[in-house]
């Protein structure tokens, strides 16, 4: 049993942290968010130079074959720095190509930072059930024709290519009959509406209107896309959990610092026992969340599907709970300053909140945890 990071992992973390502190500070980030595109090409190049885009890509394709634990380290630092670049969207998309063992050229371009991708799975009615798909894939002589609309696609408008789920049958909530495609984002018939999200990111609604896709662009097995989506959504969950830990560390540190410096009634407010214990609770929440994020990063690669689902859902549920408590209390302890946009604490709170609502909220994952066959007999 060993919880230590390797020296390489530590160095990677430090490099990203230094970069975020120096080149992705609060003002720079504000500027990027306010820009028309909402992301920064410069920052993306720098992330590529640092090796972040290459990290999850297989070595033989120019990457570092980074494990989920390696990714945990990076996501923590990007969380700490509140980096709003399309990294999560791109590496999640990359995972589809890796698992499907296809489109090695795209993976190579991801590694170098040449290409950004996004994952278009959710629809207006699906909420957290990614198998609930109304978008259709109709076979024709040239492959498939896609029709339908995906919504709140993270960085959908900034992506060069999209991972898209679509359905071959009529049963909107059927877990079979699902295809997954890699689609060029500039294909004819794709209409993207870009918008800001409350946490400073970008997302898009994407309409597919008679979009032609070649057979080679189907990822994984025909009609069997759900297994792929379910597995990679768990991978995404583990990334989000790690990101959340990085933010929790930063927001907790900022709050602790505020308690030590902010004076009221002639003493630092950190002298009030009620606030002290609140801070102790935040610390405990963070440590419990950290344990689950670690477990998630290790178990996301488990060959035992039930163990993977069970652990990842446990992690997302636990971290969602911690994210809400820590975020709300950090704001509360900051008092009036906490509810302005002027301190990082508000932005961390917002991102912690949207992480809770991404890829399944706490209740969704508690229900998934309960639904695993082993729930009634295991402990």
């Amino acid at each position: 049993m060993d919880f230590k990071l390797t020296q390489e992992q530590q160095q990677f973390a430090e490099a990203i942290r230094r970069w975020a502190e120096k080149d992705y500070g609060f003002e720079q980030r504000k500027h990027i968010i306010g820009s028309p595109k909402g992301t920064s090409s410069k920052a993306w190049s720098e992330l590529a130079e640092l090796g972040a885009t290459a990290l999850p890509i297989p070595e033989e394709l120019g990457g570092f074959s980074g494990s989920a634990v390696d990714m945990m380290v990076v996501m923590q630092e990007l969380g700490r720095g509140l980096v709003v670049e399309p990294y999560f969207a791109t590496v999640l998309a990359a995972e589809f190509l890796k698992k499907a063992k296809a489109h090695f050229d795209v993976l190579e371009q991801i590694a170098t930072g040449e290409k950004k991708l996004a994952v278009a799975l959710a629809e207006k009615q699906s909420r957290y059930d990614l198998f609930d798909i109304a978008t259709t894939a109709t076979p024709n002589k040239d492959g498939f024709v896609l029709n339908g609309t995906k919504t709140v696609v993270l960085h959908g408008a900034q992506a060069d290519m999209l991972i898209v789920s679509a359905r071959s049958n009529e049963n909107q909530r059927d877990k079979s009959g699902i295809h997954v495609f890699l689609v060029d984002a500039n294909s004819i018939g794709i209409h993207r509406t870009d918008y800001r999200t409350i946490d400073g990111y970008r997302a898009a609604d994407i309409r597919f209107d008679q979009v032609q896709v070649a057979p080679i662009n189907m990822l994984g097995k025909e009609n069997d896309g759900w297994e792929l989506i379910d597995e990679i959504a768990d991978y995404g969950v583990s990334l989000l959990c790690s990101e959340a830990i990085g933010i929790m560390e930063a927001i907790t540190a900022a709050t602790l610092d505020y308690l030590k410096t902010r004076q009221q009634f002639g003493v630092p407010i950190g002298k009030f026992q009620v606030l002290q214990h609140r801070m102790a609770e935040m610390f405990m929440e963070m440590e419990q969340a950290r344990s689950m994020a670690t477990l998630a990063a290790v178990k996301v690669s488990s060959a035992n599907v039930e163990e993977r689902r069970r652990t990842l859902s446990a992690a997302k549920a636990r971290i969602g709970q911690a994210a809400r408590y820590i975020g709300q209390q950090a704001v509360q302890l900051h008092g009036g300053m906490g509810v302005t946009n002027e301190l990082p604490v508000a932005h961390m709170f917002k991102r912690l909140t949207t992480i809770e609502l991404s890829l399944g909220d706490t209740d969704h994952h508690l229900a998934r945890f309960v639904a695993q066959p082993g729930f009634k007999v295991s402990a």
Partner: protein, 396 residues
């Protein structure tokens, strides 16, 4: 023990309800019910409609143009306004500075300001908080030095709600820096157009412009704008803080929001069924609804006990009221989940059509959730309220 309204009260309720049905503009109601952002014009329009009816000074004596309603009638009126979804009558003039003027102002001040307040001729804002004062209000530093017929004011106020629209500000200023903290404070009315006043927006975490910093740089204020006696301002401020807590439980609004929550939870799906049919979610809604039922009775108990001006029990109402409001926003955001993420300030201002696939209901809910975190902080943080319960009720 009789928990029913009297026949008179019921008749009054019907009167108010009919009036609101007839006079509340549909566009304002739509904005309120859908958590959109209100602008200056929205507030003023509704204020003037009510002023015409004579229903602005609900806590005022009749001699000043008030309604002379009983505490129960005021409660019913507030509930009906909340139920209908009216814009708020902002408290800074009507419920904050006006009671102070009535109690401590001179005749000229009463004659001039009170009718203007009733009719919304002046937009008032509140100059209490300062950077660094926080919950320790009396530690304020803004100075007012007497110079002939004027005070020269220097300093800074903060968290000044909607000061960007304001014509007037009432301020606590320090007139005797040598005195002890609570002494040496005076209560001044200041025209916002006076040279030397600068308003700087503070943008909230939902990017709304709701509060401001107000800077005073050698601002000349005529001495006739002093309320009551010099150096007695803290007494007036405390008097006002008691008034501020009226309707702080906001039961009526919470009931309207609960219906909104139930409606959207009936439209959003979980496991292919309406979310409201999910037992886990339904239990959360039910717990909240029951908390609200309890709070409504608690409010009525407080109203029935005294003259309608709650004492330290107001702290309980404030804590429970804001907990319920915040919980409502949590459950709304949970309901729409990822569809709450898109952020379109122009849509929230009512200026554009929402272009997104996701529904209009969801558009404001993340902002609403974030914005409402302030409710447990402002008006005396909930921690401060617990201190008050501890000391004033429990005697610890």
């Amino acid at each position: 023990m009789d928990l029913n309204y009297t026949a008179q009260d019921l008749a009054f309720r019907d009167e108010v309800r009919s009036y609101l049905e007839a006079h509340l503009p549909a566009d304002l109601q739509h904005k309120v019910r859908n958590h959109k952002r209100m602008n200056r014009e929205d507030f003023v329009r509704w204020h003037k409609i009510l002023a015409k009816q004579g229903w602005v000074g609900t806590g005022w004596q009749v001699e000043y143009g008030g309604t002379g309603w009983t505490p129960t009638q005021r409660h019913i009126f507030e509930e009906e306004c909340a139920r209908a979804g009216t814009p708020a009558i902002l408290p800074f003039g009507v419920n904050m500075v006006a009671p102070v003027i009535m109690a401590f102002g001179n005749q000229a001040q009463k004659d001039y300001y009170l009718p203007r307040i009733l009719n919304c001729d002046d937009w008032w804002c509140q100059g209490y908080s300062e950077p660094g004062s926080g919950s320790d209000l009396a530690s304020l530093k803004t100075r007012a030095e007497r110079d002939g017929d004027f005070y020269i004011v220097n300093g800074q106020k903060t968290w000044t709600t909607l000061a960007q629209h304001a014509d007037m500000i009432f301020c606590l200023v320090r007139t005797d820096p040598a005195a002890r903290k609570q002494e040496g404070i005076s209560f001044l009315l200041i025209d916002m157009k006076t040279p030397g006043i600068t308003v700087r927006p503070i943008i909230m975490l939902d990017e709304d412009h709701e509060v401001n910093e107000v800077f005073f740089d050698n601002v000349k204020v005529p001495v006739q704008n002093l309320i009551g006696e010099e150096n007695k301002g803290w007494t007036y401020a405390k008097y006002l803080l008691g008034h501020e807590r009226t309707n702080i439980a906001a039961v009526g609004r919470a009931k309207r929001e609960l219906l909104f929550l139930k409606r959207i939870a009936g439209e959003h799906q979980k496991n292919g069924k309406p979310l409201i049919d999910d037992p886990v979610f339904a239990h959360k809604v039910a717990s909240l609804e029951i908390e609200l039922m309890a709070l409504e009775i608690t409010v009525l108990r407080v109203i029935s006990q005294d003259s309608g001006r709650p004492g330290p029990e107001a702290s309980l109402l404030k804590i429970k009221g804001t907990e319920i409001q915040q919980r409502l926003t949590e459950l709304m955001l949970e309901t729409v989940g990822p569809y709450g993420l898109p952020f379109d300030p122009q849509f929230l201002e009512g200026e554009t059509e929402h272009s997104l696939v996701s529904d209009d209901d969801a558009a404001a809910l993340a902002s609403y959730y974030f914005n409402y975190r302030k409710t447990s902080i402002y008006g005396g943080s909930n921690e401060i309220q617990k201190n008050i319960i501890t000391q004033m009720i429990l005697g610890l």
